[in-house]
């Protein structure tokens, strides 16, 4: 199954036979006090830096989250989307838990966006899916409802429900990307084995594309980027087709591109070799 997202001049295809889709996570105020203060003051100037750094790191798409409880998120989203689209032609992932902010972002977006996200809760499905359908966007479905089930089968049940309800709203399964929920390995020793089992079930029973917050796994641990890189290689080899991740970290992006090469999604290592040359050229200047 292939998920297609677009800007006016670029198409990104997410799928099991495609190179892994790196979605840059940096435009998000969580854990960024300075950015929070800027958003509260209506200042979006940081986005230019965030966009440039993430693209330089190799992002295929960018997530845009400007949610701060002391800021006007709806207005900010409506302004941030055209601003980012003026800076780059990579497709965007519009990220908010506020319905009106998603609506504002989608209305401002040129092309086919990805919406982040909906859960399996009825109230969220009924609020978000009609907007996604109306704008012809794709959507990320989180495999949790009121709680996060620790059994892979139950996460897959929630995923099936999301795909089914999306279908009722006219959103085809290829436009639903399921997030099986990557959780911190430091707090739950089975977190990644459960994640991998869920990926297998999703691939075999639904065939949908998948994504996750790749940084979650290494929360609260030393050597986060090395762990993140290893996690991505493991997840990718078990069927993960995209991730929302810190694309400014070479360890993580290199792990993804190496795995693409190893799994036959970068024939003759064309991309891998190009990355090497670009790095050499950058080091030389």
């Amino acid at each position: 199954m292939q998920t297609v997202v677009q800007s006016p001049s670029r198409t990104v295809v997410i799928g099991p036979d495609q190179p892994f889709c790196v979605i840059g996570e940096r435009i998000n105020p969580t854990g960024r006090k300075v950015f929070q203060a800027q958003l509260q003051a209506g200042d979006l100037s940081q986005l230019e830096i965030d966009v440039a750094q993430q693209l330089a790191g190799g992002a295929d798409m960018l997530d845009v989250n400007v949610g701060d409880p002391l800021a006007d998120e709806i207005a900010l989203m409506g302004a941030a989307i055209p601003l980012v689209q003026g800076l780059t032609d990579v497709p965007l992932c519009i990220d908010s838990s506020v319905i009106e902010a998603l609506e504002a972002g989608l209305s401002a977006y040129q092309g086919k966006a990805l919406v982040n996200s909906v859960t399996g809760e009825d109230e969220r499905l009924e609020a978000i899916l009609p907007i996604v359908a109306r704008h012809g966007a794709a959507v990320i479905g989180l495999a949790n409802a009121e709680d996060i089930p620790m059994e892979p089968e139950r996460r897959v049940e929630i995923a099936k429900k999301i795909v089914s309800v999306a279908g009722d709203h006219g959103i085809p399964p290829e436009d639903v990307i399921i997030d099986p929920l990557a959780m911190p390995i430091g707090a739950e020793p089975r977190a990644v084995t459960l994640f991998v089992e869920t990926l297998h079930l999703l691939r075999d029973e639904l065939g949908v594309n998948t994504t996750c917050g790749a940084g979650n796994t290494s929360f609260g641990l030393p050597g986060r980027h090395t762990l993140g890189a290893a996690f991505l290689a493991v997840a990718q080899s078990h069927g993960l087709t995209s991730a929302i991740m810190d694309s400014r970290r070479p360890e993580m992006v290199e792990a993804v591109r190496a795995t693409d090469f190893l799994l036959g999604r970068d024939e003759w290592g064309t991309t891998w070799i190009r990355m090497y040359r670009e790095k050499q050229a950058a080091a030389a200047t």
């Binding site: 969580t30 949610g67 409880p69 002391l70 709680d147 929360f219 609260g220």
Partner: protein, 221 residues
């Protein structure tokens, strides 16, 4: 083993999260006639406080904190009934939960552990807790404090929604409201009308004790 050896063993093994050893030493302590209070206040709590201090300095990581807490829980399971028997002081009752829309629980769980270690009775409602559930739990447990946790900037507005719900239910003044979580600031806590905010787990415990003491002294006997 001398009492000192047992207490030192409890301290050292809690620190490294060796749950089986902590359990054995707790039973050994009881067999040797050590007071439950002594094991709690002279070994277990100081050890967990050291774990918390190392964690805040960045010398300890999440798994180390969690296994230390688990080791202490094992000892508490044995000691709790005995402490109740001897009438060890009840510090306070705490109802805790991650707000609706948010499923992050590591920070909340760490605070719970530190609170229990300090002698609080904690009723943890889990994650994605709707305002009505907080209200039901407050009515059921009559806590001194209710704690709202949020990890996302986008779920922090639930603090205000919860506080509004408490007001509507007529129970806002019956409980102290504390808030916390990675993106939360003192300014935000003040703005939503919370009674307390702490940036980390051990500060949260200190503040919880302080707020309870303040309230108890303010209430005419």
């Amino acid at each position: 083993m001398t009492h000192e050896e047992i207490l030192k063993g409890l301290y050292d093994n809690t620190l490294i999260g060796n749950a089986p050893e902590v359990k054995d030493l707790t039973n050994a302590g009881l067999a040797e006639g050590l007071e439950p209070e002594s094991m709690l206040y002279d070994a277990l709590i100081p050890s967990l406080e050291e774990v918390g201090a190392r964690f805040e300095r960045g010398d300890f990581f999440v798994p180390e904190m969690l296994i230390a807490a688990r080791a202490m829980q094992g000892a508490l399971d044995i000691l709790r009934p005995l402490l109740a028997e001897t009438g060890a002081q009840q510090v306070g009752t705490y109802v805790m939960g991650t707000v609706k829309g948010d499923v992050h629980d590591i920070g909340k769980n760490l605070v719970n552990i530190m609170l229990e270690g300090a002698g609080f009775t904690v009723h943890d409602l889990g994650v994605n807790v709707a305002p009505e559930k907080f209200i039901d739990a407050i009515n059921e447990h009559k806590p001194d404090i209710v704690g709202f946790s949020a990890f996302l900037t986008t779920t922090m507005p639930m603090f205000k929604a919860n506080i509004n719900a408490l007001e509507k239910a007529g129970i806002r003044d019956d409980v102290i409201v504390m808030v916390g979580g990675a993106p939360v600031t003192q300014e935000y806590a003040d703005r939503v009308g919370a009674d307390g905010y702490a940036a980390d787990a051990s500060t949260a415990v200190r503040l919880a004790k302080e707020l309870i003491a303040r309230r108890r002294s303010a209430v005419p006997a």
